[in-house]
């Protein structure tokens, strides 16, 4: 193909890509404008200087640090818990080949597809009965199980391919099932487990419906819920919305840059599996 035809396609693709990231750029530009500058120059002008008071005000008003701590705590605990649960399940299904494993697996798949709307009210009601309503623990428990449904599904198919000779050799050397799991299966499956950890963390970070219902007090809310509720109340002016948007975007951006390899590799793993 000639260069004459080559470049228009590339330019078109770059314009498309620019359109995808444009909202982020507009947000970043406007988050450092002062309210006066915003109202006189509008959203499209370049900032005259860097004005960080808007961000600072917003941070303090919503106690954003606390929200970050909550999100990290909840997402981190869920990622770890769900991986442990997935590994145990997948060990029994993929390597133990327990009887009825096809049905067990189908059960996990369907559980994974269930809309949260069909669980939300009973979960809300039961957690109130159990005294766990409006605690971070309740959200951690629920999402550990929900994420483990997917993790079981993926890991079981990965472990189904695990080289049997290694396990047999370890068993002959006298290792019990527990030792085989932690000393052999887990270390060998580390790449897949790493992918799951990252995905569980980000998925839980982004969850909205259940945390919205379960976490009502300011001290327990996650970043997503706090921002979503603020937006829903329509109480924010333009500058505040902007600060909210930027502070919401930044952690996602950090995850994206840190985990980009894992994210794309993870999707590749699954698509090939």
């Amino acid at each position: 193909m000639t260069a004459v035809r080559r470049y228009p396609v590339l330019v078109a693709l770059f314009i498309g890509a620019l359109f995808m990231v444009l909202p982020f750029l507009i947000v970043a530009v406007n988050a450092v404008k002062s309210p006066a500058e915003y109202s006189s120059n509008g959203p499209l002008s370049l900032p005259e200087g860097v004005y960080l008071d808007g961000l600072k005000d917003f941070w303090e008003r919503v106690d954003f640090g606390q929200k970050l701590v909550n999100s990290v705590l909840i997402s981190g605990s869920v990622a770890l818990g769900a991986v442990v649960l997935s590994v145990l399940n997948a060990y029994a299904i993929g390597i133990g080949r327990i009887r009825g494993r096809t049905w067990v697996l189908a059960f996990f798949v369907l559980a994974n597809m269930l809309p949260q709307e069909a669980l939300v009210y009973p979960v809300y009601y039961l957690s109130k009965e159990a005294g766990l309503y409006d605690t971070r623990l309740s959200v951690i428990i629920v999402f550990t199980v929900i994420q483990a449904a997917f993790g079981t599904y993926l890991l079981a198919s990965v472990l189904g391919q695990f080289p049997r000779e290694i396990i047999e050799a370890a068993r002959i050397d006298g290792a019990n099932k527990w030792q085989v799991l932690w000393r052999i299966v887990v270390p060998v499956s580390r790449p897949t487990i790493g992918v799951l950890l990252v995905f569980f963390f980000i998925w839980t970070w982004n969850e909205f419906l259940l945390p919205l219902v379960m976490l009502i007090s300011n001290d327990n809310q996650t970043v997503s819920v706090a921002l979503g509720v603020l937006q829903g109340q329509r109480l924010m002016d333009a500058t505040m919305t902007n600060a909210a948007a930027l502070l919401g975007v930044l952690p996602a951006l950090v995850f994206f840059l840190v985990f980009q390899r894992t994210l794309t590799r993870g999707i590749a793993v699954g698509a090939v599996k």
């Binding site: 995808m20 080949r97 009601y125 997503s224 794309t264």
Partner: protein, 336 residues
């Protein structure tokens, strides 16, 4: 929503393997030779915590929800059994039908459009940009398209509702700046327009997922196929149609299925962008059940809505998985 669908990329196709491959038979034979014990089943202990947790957190609440859908209940006191009354009421509820109609629009925005655009983009990036401009350029472009996928939907909603604001919103300002001021709209506040605006935002959110899955799928296509086709004088579109599409058909099934399910579940975007408004113009089943549960506190009726949604999703999922397995079997048959 956005991220949930990623599960599909990896999940959907695993079922093909797993149970019943060669390794297991060797072990079984080994054990049978030893005696009639069934040592296999002691692995069931490892499943115990998982199964118990699933019953407590998913099965029990789900059954409760289904049970409540046959009752009238305000969330306190004893539910009153009313049989199918809630479902009969749903059939006559125009709000219910409207919410499912809007779901179809969401399927277009979150499954159909992203799949088609994702296919063209993936093929263009893989087969054209990758070949002529190197993998660096591909990686940068792919990252740009994928970025909205890692964003919490609540944050995406804030970003867009600010951009789409009727006064001082960036989009309207931009239109004014380029002399198209007459096209300015109240994008999310106009009942005739709001649904299409939400659809546009969802396309933006969703497009990265099919793109990344398709690009991963293209990696396993034999490059010789393309070379041979090129030697035969096939143009880009013909290669796309006759090689790319058939080769990554399994990925297309997975993406369509998972994006459709994600579209039926969409909640956060509607909550943050429009709250189902204006005047119910963007109401969807999940948001409808949410408000019925927690604002109207008609728990029985809300449970009925979510049960209908669940049945639709499960039927779709089973049909999709079946179709996919059959397609894969057929394909494997052809290859052998």
């Amino acid at each position: 929503m956005t991220v949930t669908v990623e599960r599909g990329g990896r999940g959907g196709r695993g079922s093909r393997r797993g149970p019943g491959s060669r390794g297991g038979d060797v072990v079984e034979a080994h054990h049978h030779a030893k005696g009639s014990r069934r040592p296999r089943d002691s692995y069931a202990l490892f499943l115990l915590p998982g199964v118990l947790a699933f019953f407590a957190i998913i099965v029990v609440p789900f059954l409760m929800n289904t049970g409540v859908s046959f009752t009238e209940w305000q969330g306190v006191g004893t539910p009153k059994w009313t049989g199918l009354a809630n479902y009969r009421e749903l059939m006559d509820d125009s709000e219910f039908w409207a919410s499912f109609r809007h779901s179809l629009f969401m399927v277009v925005a979150m499954a159909a459009v992203p799949t088609v655009v994702g296919l063209v983009l993936a093929a263009a990036l893989f087969d054209f940009v990758g070949k002529h401009f190197g993998s660096r350029t591909v990686a940068v472009l792919r990252a740009c398209f994928y970025l909205p996928q890692v964003l919490p939907i609540a944050v995406a909603g804030i970003v867009w509702s600010w951009i789409l604001a009727p006064e001082n919103g960036s989009l309207n300002e931009l239109l004014k700046a380029i002399g198209l001021g007459s096209l300015q709209q109240d994008w999310l506040g106009d009942p005739d327009l709001a649904l299409y605006t939400v659809m546009g935002v969802m396309v933006w959110v969703q497009i990265g997922f099919p793109l990344v899955v398709f690009m991963a799928g293209l990696q396993r296509v034999d490059p010789q196929l393309y070379e041979a086709a090129e030697l035969d004088g096939a143009g880009w579109w013909r290669r796309f149609w006759h090689i790319t599409l058939p080769q990554i058909r399994p990925e297309i099934y997975v993406v369509l299925l998972w994006c459709t399910i994600a579209a039926l579940k969409v909640f956060g975007a509607v909550y943050v962008l429009t709250k189902g408004g204006p005047g119910g113009a963007t109401n969807v089943p999940s948001y409808f059940s949410f408000t019925t549960f927690f604002e109207k506190t008609q728990v029985g009726y809300g449970a009925a809505i979510s049960t209908v949604l669940t049945v639709i999703i499960l039927v779709l999922a089973l049909a999709g998985l079946k179709l996919q397995t059959r397609a894969e079997d057929a394909e494997e048959g052809l290859r052998v």
